[in-house]
């Protein structure tokens, strides 16, 4: 019942913040929620592999992803404070923002822990609503356009995912003791009609692809990430993408108990390759930081899918890559908040000479750039190395070569724009507005990138064991 209490607590907190808008209330609610969420993580770790009121279960992958979310809540709230100081000065809108963020974190935790497919689906719907609200931070045209597209396409996608759940339910509806929980479906998977399993898999992959930021429904979420405020972006590019991943992971673990798994791996491979190609092609035309980071999320998710498609050897690399991507991408977005505040714009052409204007931030940005493009000493180098090792050793040589070429293209684009930011001439319209700067702002990113380097090269034993246990759920 703990998760239910947690839900009720966060709803109460959200309602309190909405009803009594004041700065003190926001700060207190934020701190209280952080404490509650971290204690939820510890509780979940303590009660590993137990179910909680039948609808939720604390298994390894969900505890891992929830721990990442808990880790990221603290810098998100800190940077949200800075964002609200700089851009939104109306207390009522601030409290709406804080309430929506609290509910979003809760919904994402709900997705991680849910054991029933329908509860997972409901929680993902809630995240859609909340993200649609959070993206809409101003009333001019681009946020409204992005928010509308996101809400609409997400609704269509989720309806399609629901059709997938219905196909699974069709199979088990006449057996006794039937329910739509992941463990029951896993035990029944070998007796189900493969056509139904395949249909359900494809429908759920397509439906959750809007959260997971891959082909086919990537366009709306890329638009949403282009417009969202940077703390929100740090969450929806990392933890919400992980939530989409959990949705796909659950159906994949159900499928892995039957012989449809080989076909499912092929589907992952094709989807991953297409998403990678689209990301690489679209990145040429991108002229904004946030959009570039959004397509980079798409690229990394594509790599994770390709890693999953290889089979057992690739699962460890996929989860490791997921963890590192979470940490690095959020760090990049926090850094972008500083960039945005300094230049008052998120376009490439308005930036330049960052290394002179903000050396600490530039250092963090360089570290982030190296990390996201998987250049050593980044931990992502380790995970990508493992992915490609799995690819080549399983005989997918052609796929590996294409992916490497596309990754090279993406590295080129990242460096072209990143070096422009760092070393180009100071832009002419710089300095017209004095931005509030904060010398402690870069600390969070340096910590996150340092953590990625540490976990990549000298991972503690419990971390590697944790991931091994997380992937043991799949057959």
């Amino acid at each position: 019942m703990i998760i239910l209490y947690f839900f009720i607590l966060s709803v109460i907190l959200g309602v309190l913040v909405l009803v009594l808008p004041s700065k003190k209330m926001n700060i207190m609610a934020g701190i209280f929620y952080v404490i509650a969420h971290i204690s939820l993580s510890f509780f979940a770790h303590h009660h590993m592999d137990l179910t909680d009121s039948v609808y939720f279960k604390f298994d390894h992958i969900s505890v891992l992803l929830n721990a990442l979310l808990s880790l990221l809540i603290i810098p998100t709230f800190y940077h949200s404070k800075l964002y609200l100081q700089r851009h939104i000065r109306d207390v009522k809108r601030e409290s709406q923002y804080i309430a929506a963020m609290i509910m979003l974190f809760t919904a994402i935790s709900g997705v991680y822990f849910s054991e029933y497919l329908v509860i997972l689906w409901v929680c993902i719907e809630m995240t859609t609503l909340l993200v649609g609200f959070l993206v809409l931070h101003d009333r001019y045209q681009t946020p409204i356009e992005a928010s509308w597209k996101y809400l609409f396409i997400s609704s269509v996608g989720i309806a399609i995912a629901f059709m997938g759940i219905l196909f699974l339910a069709a199979q088990i509806s006449d057996r006794e003791g039937a329910n739509l929980s992941v463990s029951y479906l896993m035990s029944m998977a070998s007796t189900m009609n493969p056509v139904f399993l395949k249909t359900a898999f494809i429908l759920m992959l397509a439906g959750y692809s809007i959260k997971l930021n891959i082909f086919p429904l990537f366009a709306a979420t890329i638009d949403a990430k282009t417009v969202a405020p940077f703390p929100v972006n740090a969450i929806i590019s990392t933890c919400l993408v992980n939530a989409g991943f959990i949705g796909v992971y659950r159906i994949y673990s159900i499928i892995s108990m039957s012989e449809v798994i080989f076909w499912a791996q092929k589907v992952f491979l094709i989807t991953g390759l297409i998403s990678l190609i689209i990301a690489a092609v679209q990145l040429f035309r991108v002229k904004r930081f946030k959009r570039m980071f959004a397509f980079s999320s798409m690229e990394h998710m594509a790599l994770i899918l390709i890693a999953l498609s290889v089979g057992k050897v690739g699962y460890y690399a996929a989860i490791l890559h997921l963890v590192f991507h979470t940490l690095v991408k959020s760090g990049l977005f926090y850094q972008f908040g500083q960039i945005r505040a300094l230049y008052n714009s998120g376009w490439f052409k308005d930036t330049g000479a960052y290394i002179k204007l903000n050396p600490t931030g530039a250092l963090a940005f360089i570290l982030g750039l190296l990390s996201i493009t998987a250049i050593p000493p980044s931990g992502m180098f380790v995970s990508e190395f493992l992915i490609f090792k799995a690819l080549f050793s399983s005989g997918y040589v052609f796929v590996g070569i294409i992916s490497l070429i596309l990754l090279t293209v993406i590295i080129y684009i990242f460096f072209k724009n990143g070096l422009h930011l760092l070393y180009a001439e100071k832009p002419e319209n710089y300095g017209q507005q004095k931005a509030l700067s904060n010398k402690y702002e870069s600390i969070s990113q340096l910590v996150l990138f340092g953590l990625v380097i540490y976990l990549g090269y000298n991972p503690p034993a419990f971390f590697t064991d944790f991931i091994q246990l997380a992937i043991s759920g799949i057959n």
């Binding site: 719907e125 356009e145 809400l151 609409f152 989720i158 069709a170």
Partner: protein, 209 residues
């Protein structure tokens, strides 16, 4: 009698393709709600009474009355255009919708699952495909909302065809989806209308590179 209602449902899909006035869409959605009510009444016999009443209330009140009323109010308040704009002439629209309907029945026939009640399954598949086609064809955001509701009706039909083991779960989930979709999207339409002067999709493409 089930076949009569499935044919009537197909007729509403064809009339969606035929009608050009946006207000007709709302009446057709209401008609679809009534047909779904009749279908639920005919087909769900094994469930308990309370769940049956819940589903009946949901179809007739929400799908047939509330949502069309809400959409109508939205249309009037925002002074939306009377005619829809589409990329294909209406003549070909009707042909394609009939083609989709026939194709889904042929597919249902070839698959011939025992677990699904196949006329419902084919009608559901046709409805989802027609809804997606509707969204692709039309330029107006209100028509996109209508297409979304057609998809929702298709998902409801699919849940009817799955059988009656989980009726409450299924219908609550669909109701949540529909409410979320229409309330949020409908409330949103006001905002879109305020900022953009018209709600054609071509004005919604500033975010492309």
């Amino acid at each position: 009698m089930i076949y009569l209602f499935i044919v009537l449902y197909g007729l509403t899909l064809v009339y969606f393709g035929l009608s050009e006035r946006v207000s007709r869409f709302v009446y057709l959605l209401s008609a679809q709600g009534l047909i779904l009510f009749a279908l639920v009444f005919e087909s769900l016999h094994e469930t308990q009474l309370i769940e049956l009443i819940l589903i009946l209330i949901e179809t007739i009140v929400v799908k047939a009355i509330l949502i069309p009323w809400f959409l109508n109010r939205l249309r009037k308040r925002n002074h939306l255009k009377r005619l829809h704009e589409s990329f294909l002439p209406v003549f070909y629209n009707v042909i394609i919708i009939v083609f989709i309907w026939v194709l889904s029945f042929v597919l249902g026939n070839n698959l011939n699952f025992e677990e699904l009640h196949t006329p419902f399954f084919s009608a559901a598949l046709a409805s989802v495909t027609c809804g997606i086609y509707f969204i692709i064809i039309h330029k107006n955001v209100f028509s996109h909302l209508t297409g979304y509701l057609i998809i929702e009706n298709g998902v409801f039909l699919l849940s009817l065809s799955v059988g009656s083991k989980f009726p409450h779960f299924v219908s609550l989930a669909v109701l949540l989806d529909v409410l979320m979709g229409v309330l949020v999207l409908g409330l949103f339409l006001n905002k879109v209308r305020d900022t953009f002067q018209d709600i054609s999709v071509q004005s919604l493409s500033k975010l492309k590179d």
